[in-house]
């Protein structure tokens, strides 16, 4: 199998999964890697489960999706989604997970219960850093910056220069929110493992 590195970003439609994966793939390209990324848009936008694969390699990357069980890094914006995808990680891979609960429709409409002890179930399976990234973003002034806080934490694990991340974020987010998002990135980057 190739040396391609595989990142999986997951969350709920509307949480900024796609923006985060765009930032990551742009950073990888600027650092001279071949990159492919894949996600499904469409019906999944509306409160559904969203996942995005990002793959990079100094050599050529072929498939835009990573084979199951070969994910090197998982980043999840919602904890139940983190658990849902955890088996896709290699045994020695790391997950960065937002300690945040967003009830899916079967739960919010009272049909089934939200899975108990999600954090424990994740940690039983893989190495994971689970923290309240949404609270970090809220303290900075906007919960919508949660995705960038998490991107900051992921950035610590990936082989790219910090400046490249910051350059890409600056070009990517709305001009009025640059300062907030850079702070969000820095806060995420500070997270201890």
């Amino acid at each position: 199998m190739s040396d391609t590195k595989n990142v999986l970003i997951v969350g709920v439609g509307g949480q900024g999964v796609i923006t985060a994966s765009e930032i990551l793939s742009e950073v990888a390209m600027l650092e001279g890697y071949d990159v492919k990324k894949s996600e499904i848009h469409g019906m999944s936008q509306r409160g559904g489960s969203v996942s995005s694969h990002i793959r990079f390699n100094k050599e050529k990357v072929y498939s835009p999706t990573a084979p199951e069980g070969t994910i090197d890094f998982l980043m999840s914006f919602e904890k139940l989604e983190g658990l849902r995808w955890i088996d896709h990680l290699r045994q020695d891979a790391v997950a960065v997970i937002n300690d945040y609960r967003w009830d899916p429709l079967p739960v919010s409409s009272g049909q089934v219960e939200y899975t108990p002890e999600v954090e424990k179930k994740i940690k039983e399976r893989r190495k994971a850093i689970i923290y309240k990234a949404s609270d970090v973003a809220s303290k900075l002034g906007n919960i919508r910056a949660t995705n960038i806080v998490l991107v900051g934490t992921l950035a610590k694990l990936l082989p790219f220069k910090k400046e490249t991340w910051i350059e890409v974020i600056k070009n990517r987010v709305p001009p009025k929110t640059i300062e907030l998002n850079i702070k969000a990135f820095e806060e995420g980057f500070k997270q201890e493992f």
């Binding site: 492919k36 996600e39 848009h41 509306r46 429709l105 409409s109 219960e113 899975t115």
Partner: protein, 593 residues
């Protein structure tokens, strides 16, 4: 020398870029996942390319045909099922050929991520006897646009560019060029023998098509779009489109025949390849399209005996199918039975109001294609029937005609604004003409919502951002002969209920237009979230039955997420205990009988 400009593009963005770089002049389409973003990106080049949303795929196809017949390079975009709508002109344009290039983009959806079926539109290219190209990544998506235009003009034929969800929506690096050829054609003289398909002309064209297909077969044999990669000769794999990328991932050493031009197939090249390798597989998503033709030619290959013909392929499926070995992945989460996370109507969505009322009235509902199809899922569970665009109206008439008044009184057809214009209007004309009495609800959210919020004839704006005539749905419906037309705010549940009761009981056809902007485009919406007083909430869960993601149920009480709630009140109106508050004030609603 300046370095060539590189960008990470989706397949759809790359097709749009190709349209610009290779000289497309007219582009039309109707939105449909996974094709919608193609025209949304062609509009970036609107100074060079005229582009438009049409009311439906057939109209889009014919618009592009007119441009191509008169010498302009044109393209049309649609999802796979859209080509069913456009199939009528599709087959006959294949007879006529073109003056300016004509590229038909069919975006298929293996795995049905956002579709009602997974039909394999490669069959259409063979059926209509036109050439077909299949890119496997974004660079090829752009390059193949150029090839399609070249083949179209060289062989005087429309060309199908067939893509799939995975090529449309995945991103890879593309090298951009800034060249764009100029088309210096003059307005052509009359050529009725070619462009007016009366039987006498069509019979002659049919013979020309046969010759054209033979020439295209030769072209396919020599084309650089069909590439042989000879490596290890133990295993050979013949493949197309995205499957090529999957194969390179899991069988890097195998010999591969990658087919970029899949109609007509280069059968001699295929034969030679299979003779070079010991064992040869055909790996293609969905139907055994290539495999059946290869086997009919007497060539021994292994295909659907091992490769699934249902759903999307991926590297691991191909690996397991060919080697019989597992990929080393263990699913330990399945046993936890996690709650699923299906898509849902957005908090504040106007459609929710309609379904809550229809459920209360125990209506039997014939539905259609759009966000409102999500009303089929629990807890709304409000749809009985749904097939395709427009059928929400016409099926209603069929049900009524097959049964009696008792059924008709409970019968409602629902259809969106864009879908009604697409093909609901003809069904409504039929309902008046053939004396139906049911009620049709046009769920008018002022946009084509599900596919990503595209303009349509009743929004008053074009794809290119210009103001235009705003189709008046009320006047349109009256003009076809509907006497009972009501316009109502779908979030005003009591009024909606009153109107629906009256119109459903009426022994005449009625149209109820539930009008409110899609919550994602409503800029004037004042989002004032609701709260629940835990002292008053009894935990009866009645409010939860409206299926809203802004609600949750913790410690046996309903909770509202202030980030998601728009204050639409649909949940609060279900509460019998006055537990909901807005701006600190308790909300009391008069109970409907």
């Amino acid at each position: 020398m300046e370095k060539p400009k590189k960008k990470i593009l989706t397949g759809n963005e790359a097709i749009a870029r190709g349209a610009y770089e290779y000289g497309i002049e007219v582009a039309a389409g109707y939105p449909g996942t996974p094709s919608s973003e193609i025209l949304e990106n062609v509009v970036l080049y609107k100074d060079h390319v005229y582009c438009q949303w049409s009311p439906n795929e057939k109209v889009a196809f014919e618009t592009a045909t007119g441009a191509a017949f008169s010498g302009r390079r044109s393209m049309v975009t649609m999802k796979h099922v859209g080509l069913n709508v456009a199939a009528d002109p599709f087959f006959t344009v294949a007879y006529s050929g073109i003056e300016g290039a004509f590229v038909i983009i069919s975006a298929d959806d293996p795995g049905m991520h956002s579709s009602q079926n997974e039909q394999d539109n490669r069959n259409y290219a063979k059926f209509a006897k036109i050439p077909m190209l299949e890119p496997s990544d974004s660079q090829e998506a752009k390059d193949f646009m150029g090839e399609a235009i070249k083949i179209s003009e060289e062989f005087d034929t429309p060309v199908m560019l067939r893509v799939t969800t995975r090529t449309c929506h995945s991103k890879s690096i593309v090298t951009l060029n800034d060249t764009r050829p100029e088309n210096k054609k003059e307005f052509p003289p009359r050529q009725s023998q070619k462009y007016v398909m009366i039987p006498a002309h069509a019979k002659k064209r049919r013979l020309i098509m046969k010759e054209r297909l033979e020439k295209l077969s030769k072209y396919s044999e020599e084309s650089k779009l069909n590439v042989e990669e000879i490596n290890d000769k133990e295993i050979g794999i013949i493949t197309n489109g995205i499957s090529y990328q999957y194969i390179k991932e899991v069988f890097p050493k195998a010999s591969v025949l990658k087919l970029g031009m899949t109609n007509p197939l280069p059968m001699q090249k295929i034969r030679k390849f299979t003779e070079t390798v010991k064992k040869c597989y055909v790996v293609e998503e969905l139907d055994p399209f290539m495999e059946e033709q290869i086997k009919s030619a007497g060539i021994k290959v292994i295909g659907k005996e091992v490769i699934p013909e249902i759903g999307e392929l991926n590297p691991e499926i191909i690996y397991k199918s060919i080697t019989g070995k597992d990929f080393g992945y263990t699913n330990t989460v399945a046993e936890l039975k996690l709650p699923t996370r299906p898509p849902a109507l957005c908090p504040g969505c106007p459609h929710r109001g309609v379904y809550v009322v229809l459920k209360k009235l125990k209506a039997r509902v014939s539905g259609d294609i759009g966000c409102y199809t999500l009303g089929v899922l629990p807890p709304l569970s409000s749809l009985d029937w749904q097939v395709c665009m427009g059928a929400g109206v016409s099926m209603t008439l069929g049900i009524e005609k097959g049964w009696d008044e008792n059924v008709a009184e409970k019968l409602v057809g629902v259809i969106g604004d864009s879908t009604f214009i697409h093909s609901g209007i003809t069904g409504l004309i039929d309902m008046v003409y053939n004396k139906g009495t049911s009620t049709i609800i046009i769920m008018d959210n002022r946009i084509t919502a599900m596919t990503g919020r595209q303009e349509h004839p009743a929004t008053g704006k074009t794809l290119m951002g210009e103001e235009t005539h705003e189709l008046n749905l009320v006047e349109l419906v009256k003009a076809v002969g509907i006497k009972n037309v009501e316009v109502v705010d779908p979030l005003d549940l009591p009024e909606l209920e009153k109107i629906l009761k009256t119109e459903m009981a009426r022994r005449e056809p009625s149209v109820v237009i539930t009008r409110r902007k899609c919550v994602l485009i409503d800029k004037e919406l004042k989002r004032i979230p609701l709260e629940v007083d835990p002292e008053k909430c009894t935990g009866c869960k009645l409010c939860l039955a409206v299926g809203c993601l802004a609600l949750s149920f913790e410690d046996k009480k309903t909770k509202v997420d202030p980030m998601l709630c728009t204050g639409c009140m649909v949940c609060a109106r279900q509460c019998n205990f006055g537990a909901f508050k807005q701006n600190g004030t308790y909300l009391e609603f008069k109970k409907q009988k």
